[in-house]
């Protein structure tokens, strides 16, 4: 189970690192190389985003990566095949992240079957609240897959508890309003929000949106269990190439 894997790791490390990449960006070969250097430099788990043409929760960096990947003919089938390859090659848990239409058009049952066959542990679907997700939740459960749910600073306490009742593995806490890839103010307010998240659930807490350097990761120690780095590695690959990833991940701890 993902939750126990995370809790075991947390006995050794103060905070875990989850990274996010867009599959097929810049190319699938690059995606593989990026994953390899991330795993080798101590990333604890990874989100693999299947690109979608309308990623409304993503900011310019990830949006651009989605569009470029699609313009190079990335398909869901290719992402599944790629997942098969990386889950065999690397010994960390991998999750899919995508928008609901990708699952819906593939067929939610078929999608979860393919996830299980390709050893993907769970999924983050940011535009699928549990109210709309009964098919998804049932199919995930059937294959022992972990549905990750999201808390946001605008989520009331009561709804946090409601969301946590569907969530497994961990809760993804969005650090602030807005889209991915914009600066976050690592402040007292964020600390209070994380304390509120902690009260709502016993699941480990991941904190994402705007985490981009060691200082941010240090801030989160003791307040969250997983720091999520997304846009920043993609930005780095855009600017300095795939070779810069390992050094960057090392610099975060």
């Amino acid at each position: 189970m993902l939750e126990s894997y995370l809790k075991n790791r947390l006995k050794e490390k103060e905070i875990l690192l989850m990274t996010h990449i867009v599959l097929g960006y810049p190319t699938f070969e690059d995606s593989f190389e990026i994953i390899e250097s991330m795993v080798n430099t101590g990333v604890d788990l990874m989100e693999l985003q299947i690109p979608f043409s309308e990623p409304i929760a993503d900011g310019p960096v990830i949006l651009n990566a989605n569009q470029k990947s699609l313009s190079r003919k990335t398909t869901v089938k290719k992402c599944m095949d790629f997942a098969h390859k990386v889950t065999r090659a690397f010994d960390v848990p991998f999750l899919f992240m995508s928008y609901y239409n990708i699952l819906f058009k593939f067929g939610v049952k078929r999608f979860t079957e393919a996830m299980a066959q390709n050893a993907i542990k769970g999924a983050i679907v940011p535009d699928l609240p549990p109210e709309e997700g009964s098919d998804y939740l049932g199919a995930m459960e059937k294959h022992n897959l972990v549905p990750i749910f999201i808390f946001s600073p605008t989520t009331p306490d009561e709804r946090m508890k409601y969301l946590a009742s569907f969530g497994k593995g961990f809760i993804y806490c969005v650090a602030r309003k807005g889209v991915t890839g914009v600066d976050t103010d690592f402040s007292d307010q964020l600390k209070k929000y994380l304390a509120r998240c902690r009260k709502a659930t016993d699941l480990p807490l991941a904190l994402g949106f705007g985490v981009k350097e060691k200082e941010d990761v240090d801030f989160l120690k003791g307040k969250a269990d997983i720091a999520v780095v997304g846009s920043q590695t993609i930005r780095l690959v855009d600017q300095k190439g795939v070779g810069a990833v390992g050094q960057f991940i090392k610099s975060l701890r």
């Binding site: 979608f52 043409s53 309308e54 990623p55 409304i56 929760a57 900011g59 949006l63 569009q67 699609l70 398909t75 869901v76 928008y99 609901y100 239409n101 990708i102 819906f104 058009k105 593939f106 940011p126 535009d127 699928l128 609240p129 109210e131 709309e132 749910f149 999201i150 808390f151 946001s152 600073p153 605008t154 989520t155 009331p156 709804r159 969301l163 969005v174 309003k177 807005g178 889209v179 914009v182």
Partner: protein
């Protein structure tokens, strides 16, 4: 998320968590306003003093004679302030923004009509205003960009994706997830997550309410058929709603673009190219590929150039209550030309789709039959596109001279 707005499986509220609280507030404010007779009165008052409601229905005597079939009437939404039915939705949402105590509005726009209408509403109510518009549409609807900016709105050119209406909607959502405390997103059509489809069609239902009593008064009977163009679907739902229980055939006309067999169109409900999907927060028919990636759409009319369609219309397409047809760019320009010449009416390219379909059917109908076309907007904004479609040499000469003046 109590009530998620489903129409026989279409609709819903596929929202990122960050917006759930905002939508709960909006749904509650709308529900209270809907149940409050004072709200509707306030809405009707503002539409009759700030806009031109009730808009008339015009008997198109010359077109009727020309086709020799059904008696053709036109509902004149083009006579609204800013020249389209968009004013109805925008002023109504403006009243809701006041009730919610917000100070800024954002909107997407395709043809620019919704953007201009939102900018006038913002000026009138004293709200800050940002309008998102795809780069392709900025180019083809430049006069509306000019007016939005004069009205004090920031017009943001969207260069992502296909650079048209759907991409402008995505950018507006990205703004909203950041600024929802102060900002309301004035979605321009009966699409998107609940409560937008219900709310926008409720506000637009004023069109059909008026039209029904106007036609009854003039003809002492109901129309046999009603035609409306369908982009997102708000003008169509606006006029159709009042006739749903009547023995009236309702016809929605989509953008056939260069033809349904060319792939270059925006027809979701009468082409084989669309399938059910979930995007932009709701479930409906989308023009998408087998992987669920949205396709490029095409129409001569920017306001119809959209991948999705109102979930309420998707429901009526499935039930058969509304018939859907498509008119090609060519047919639309011809219908526009004929309408201008015969009646002196200048419909928007969007609205001309409804005219084109009515013209196909009117000749075969009885002279006793009455048909009603919704002229959702006026065509002045399309001067560049229409001039190109007619390859008007005098206009081209004028543009060249004008350009030289700026060079001097």
């Amino acid at each position: 998320m109590k009530d998620r707005g489903y129409y026989e499986g279409f609709g819903g509220a596929y929202l990122p968590e960050i917006l759930v609280a905002t939508f709960d507030e909006l749904a509650e404010t709308f529900q209270k306003a809907k149940d409050d007779p004072v709200f509707w009165q306030e809405y009707v008052d503002i539409m009759s003093t700030y806009s031109c409601r009730p808009t008339p229905v015009t008997f198109a005597e010359n077109l009727t004679r020309h086709f020799g079939g059904a008696r053709i009437y036109v509902k004149r939404e083009d006579l609204n302030h800013t020249g389209a039915h968009k004013a109805n939705n925008v002023m109504g949402q403006g009243l809701l923004v006041k009730r919610m105590g917000k100070s800024r509005v954002i909107a997407e726009t395709g043809a620019g009509q919704h953007g201009v209408a939102t900018a006038t509403m913002a000026a009138r109510f004293g709200f800050k205003c940002t309008i998102y518009m795809g780069e392709v549409d900025v180019r083809r609807q430049r006069p509306n960009v000019f007016w939005m900016e004069r009205l004090g709105a920031d017009v943001v050119t969207v260069r992502e994706g296909t650079r048209i209406l759907k991409d402008a909607i995505n950018e507006a959502f990205r703004d909203w997830v950041t600024n929802m405390d102060t900002t309301h997103y004035v979605l321009g059509t009966a699409c998107g997550p609940h409560p937008f489809p219900e709310m926008v069609s409720f506000l637009q239902s004023i069109i059909g309410k008026e039209a029904r009593s106007q036609i009854l008064e003039k003809e002492n009977r109901l129309p046999a058929r009603i035609y409306a163009c369908v982009g997102g679907g708000s003008n169509a739902l606006g006029i159709f709603k009042a006739f749903l229980e009547d023995p009236v055939e309702l016809i929605g006309v989509e953008a056939g673009g260069k033809g349904l067999d060319t792939g270059k169109h925006a027809s979701r409900l009468c082409s084989q190219d669309a399938s059910i999907g979930v995007a932009q927060g709701y479930k409906t028919y989308f023009l998408q590929d087998n992987d669920g990636q949205m396709k490029e759409t095409h129409s001569v009319a920017a306001g119809l150039d959209y991948v999705g369609v109102s979930p309420i219309l998707a429901q009526f397409a499935e039930s058969g209550r509304i018939r859907f047809e498509a008119a090609t760019d060519r047919e639309v320009v011809d219908a526009l030309s004929l309408t201008i010449q015969k009646e002196g009416l200048i419909p928007a390219l969007e609205s001309a789709h409804a005219f084109a379909q009515a013209f196909k059917e009117a000749p075969a109908m009885s002279k006793e039959d009455v048909i009603l076309i919704n002229q959702s907007g006026r065509g002045d904004k399309d001067i560049f596109t229409v001039a190109d479609a007619f390859a008007d040499p005098k206009w081209q000469e004028f543009i060249k001279e004008k350009a030289e003046e700026y060079h001097a």
